[in-house]
């Protein structure tokens, strides 16, 4: 329960300002890091980073990752893990293309197919994990294996979409008025975003609302924070966990369709290691694998940080492929250690370095109230 100390702690009447919770503290760290990193990149390397299109391309290229990472964040917040996202994404792209091209399918039909595959995976995994009490890692690992194996059973060779309605949808771009850049000939080219980005942003906002203002969202935090006390509060822990996996499966299905809208190709190599990137983004965004702490807005910025690092590495001349993964590893290391240190400091009532006045007060007050609850975990 120490995680929620900030929310529960008694606050003196004079100072109405609420102590910051772990979730929003980690979220602020992430957002500040991203802004700092991007501004630094603009100042040092200029050129490409000053171009608004390059910023929007961060979204264009990674919309599917944002969607998958949102699903993963929900699962991780409830204290679980889901590593089947990348596999489901690749399966959805392949199935939809085979359906569109070989079976004369329509675009709405393929969309339903994508959602159906996602829901089917989420349903089976959710039942196995929450009602049969099987370890989530193993179930979703099997899910990933199954999805990746099925791709080659559906079609042994990589495919490209040829259906006209779908291609029209894929080519569709939103122009953002007022933002753009000047091409080499001096004419103004407006910045564009793809359809998938709008879907991704809508999903991020919708889930942020769900987490903040619905009963299901609050239950998720409670279950992840402390399963036992959530149960004692009368929360249906099993059903909450089940819904979290169901939602993650559904979002993986949507992620697959967004991926298809971006590339228009079905391939077993699609979205390779997407699940690991999604986990990394969620961690950078301030979600703890132990559960109870996290936000999808943070995850969105996690994806952006992860991808900005890659483009900074490429821009700064380290073109060897291994630099990207090494810097990703270092970045992860930095964030993981930062979170660990920040949380450890707060747990001991510390964190006096930055906000001495009211933090000290809070730790004294809550020190006696909350510590016995620690034994429950």
């Amino acid at each position: 329960m120490t995680k929620n100390r900030g929310l529960i702690a008694g606050i003196p009447e004079k100072k109405r300002r609420e102590p910051i919770s772990n979730t929003s503290l980690l979220l602020r760290i992430t957002i500040c890091t991203f802004i700092g990193m991007y501004v630094l990149a603009m100042l040092v390397w200029g050129r490409g980073f000053l171009n608004p299109q390059q910023f929007l391309d961060l979204f264009n290229n990674n919309a599917f990752l944002i969607v998958i990472a949102c699903g993963l964040t929900i699962v991780m917040m409830a204290g679980g893990i889901d590593i089947s996202g990348g596999g489901i994404t690749a399966l959805v792209t392949m199935v939809c293309i085979v359906y569109l091209d070989d079976h004369g399918g329509s675009v709405p039909g393929s969309l339903c197919l994508a959602l159906g595959i996602g829901i089917a995976f989420g349903l089976v995994q959710g039942i196995l994990i929450s009602y049969l009490d099987i370890q989530p890692f193993i179930v979703t690992l099997a899910g990933m294996f199954f999805a990746k194996g099925m791709i080659t059973i559906v079609s042994a060779v990589p495919r490209t979409a040829a259906q006209e309605t779908f291609l029209a949808l894929k080519q569709f771009r939103f122009e953002i008025p007022g933002i753009g850049y000047y091409g080499k000939t001096g004419n103004f080219i407006p910045a564009k975003i793809e359809l998938g980005v709008i879907v991704a942003i809508a999903i991020v906002l919708a889930i942020a609302v769900i987490l903040k203002w619905t009963r299901f969202g609050r239950n998720l935090y409670a279950v992840g924070g402390n399963k036992q006390s959530a149960l004692m509060l009368g929360i249906n822990v099993k059903r909450t966990k089940f819904y979290s996996y169901l939602l993650a499966g559904l979002l993986s299905g949507i992620g697959g369709y967004v991926y298809l809208l971006h590339t228009g190709a079905g391939d077993a190599a699609n979205a390779t290691a997407a699940e690991i990137q999604a986990i990394a983004s969620a961690i950078i965004g301030g979600t703890l694998l132990t559960g109870g702490v996290g936000s999808v807005i943070g995850t969105l910025f996690g994806v952006l940080i992860l991808k900005t690092i890659t483009s900074i590495v490429v821009t700064s001349g380290l073109r060897e492929p291994y630099w990207q993964s090494i810097t990703t590893g270092l970045m992860l290391c930095f964030f993981i250690l930062l979170q660990s240190v920040v949380l450890a400091l707060r747990e001991k009532g510390g964190f006096k370095l930055q906000l001495p006045e009211w933090m000290k007060l809070k730790s004294k007050k809550s020190g006696t109230d909350i510590t016995p609850g620690k034994d429950l975990t």
């Binding site: 893990i81 196995l128 009602y131 049969l132 009490d133 099987i134 370890q135 890692f137 193993i138 179930v139 690992l141 099997a142 899910g143 990933m144 294996f145 199954f146 990746k148 194996g149 099925m150 791709i151 080659t152 059973i153 042994a156 077993a268 690991i276 986990i279 990394a280 961690i283 703890l288 694998l289 132990t290 060897e320 492929p321 291994y322 630099w323 990207q324 993964s325 090494i326 990703t328 590893g329 270092l330 992860l332 290391c333 993981i336 250690l337 660990s340 240190v341 450890a344």
Partner: protein, 352 residues
């Protein structure tokens, strides 16, 4: 008798053993000659054993050794190390680079192996420190090395896939002249006996379980919990080095991209199929070893059934899910209840 049966039914080994038994029966029905072992002469002129059983036992060697290390890590730290494949690539690269710098003799091979062991242990210490000192979830802590490890191996190799060839290495990777059993199997038996002796004559096993079950009470009982966790990661490091070196000897080159790819997933699966809880605590090394052989036997069976190699994963997933459902505590309890009802019913009727 009934009590003994009940104990057996509740034992964590029953489902993995049953699964292995079913796999064997399935193979026997499909092809009676599947398990025949023959003595043949290989290309080097040695008389060697060959057959599907031998190839299963031989092929599972790396997985078995990694599963043993993974079991200890899982038991002590309540999480899994997902960086073993990447760490094995690094250990293999060190092994190859030492070998290539020198004339290959038996002492040099030993030195190279020791060097790769030390590097792998150092990476184990890195992971272990993050887990034990900074209290980070093992899967998250090892994610760092997972994403950077193969790139480090690439960097050690200078971007190439260097080869090493020597009759001595072939001996380690396949057969020693005059001994018909594949060398990896012998190495695994030696390692298994060593680890069994360590667990039998030291408190390591007991302490590991104590830390996994309740870290706080273990610490109050005077066990240095952080050190036990670190030690389990270091032992896994040694296992990783052995697995990496066996694999390099087997194929005679190091490819940082494909060496032991996805082996971490299989190793964790082996631990889980063996009936061990991935949440730490009590563990059974025998279970994990059986789990590793089940995975390999399944793969060999699927290949023998002419399933395309890319589609193997889908069938594997179905079997894995079936095994974990059977070994889930809830299903087990339900099965026991059902059995009790079936047995008790006749007596009740006579009483009435």
């Amino acid at each position: 008798m009934a009590n003994g049966l009940k104990k057996l039914a509740r034992s964590q080994l029953v489902v993995p053993l049953l699964a292995l038994f079913l796999l064997i029966v399935f193979n026997l029905i499909r092809d009676v000659g599947f398990f025949s072992i023959t003595l043949t002469t290989n290309n080097d002129g040695n008389t060697v054993l060959s057959g599907n059983i031998i190839s299963i036992l031989n092929g599972a060697s790396e997985l078995v050794i990694l599963a043993i290390g993974m079991t200890l890590v899982t038991a002590s730290s309540r999480g899994q190390d997902i960086s073993v494949g990447a760490a094995a690539a690094i250990a293999g690269s060190i092994f190859v680079s030492v070998l290539r710098a020198n004339q290959i003799t038996i002492p040099i091979i030993l030195v190279a192996f020791l060097a790769s062991c030390i590097v792998a242990i150092l990476f184990g210490v890195f992971n272990g420190t993050l887990v034990a000192a900074f209290k980070i979830q093992p899967m998250i802590a090892t994610l760092i090395l997972f994403s950077a490890g193969r790139s480090i191996a690439y960097w050690i190799n200078g971007g190439a896939t260097p080869t090493v060839s020597s009759p001595l290495l072939v001996n380690i990777g396949s057969f020693i002249p005059g001994i018909p059993i594949p060398t990896p199997i012998i190495i695994i038996i030696v390692c298994g006996v060593l680890i069994w002796l360590v667990l039998r004559f030291t408190n390591l096993g007991l302490y590991t379980q104590a830390v996994g079950i309740n870290e706080r009470s273990a610490r109050l009982n005077g066990i240095n919990a952080a050190w036990i966790k670190l030690l389990s990661f270091m032992i896994l490091g040694i296992c990783v080095a052995i697995a990496g070196c066996i694999k390099v000897c087997r194929i005679g080159l190091i490819n940082h991209e494909t060496l032991l790819l996805d082996v971490e997933m299989d190793a964790i699966l082996a631990v889980a199929i063996g009936g061990n809880s991935l949440g730490g605590g009590k563990f059974s090394l025998i279970g994990s070893v059986i789990g590793a052989y089940i995975i390999q036997a399944l793969t060999v069976t699927l290949y023998a059934m002419k399933v395309p190699s890319t589609a193997v994963k889908a069938y594997k997933a179905i079997v894995i899910i079936a095994i974990v459902i059977l070994s889930s505590p809830i299903v087990k309890e339900y099965a026991l209840q059902l059995r009790d009802q079936l047995i008790k019913k006749p007596t009740k009727i006579t009483e009435n």
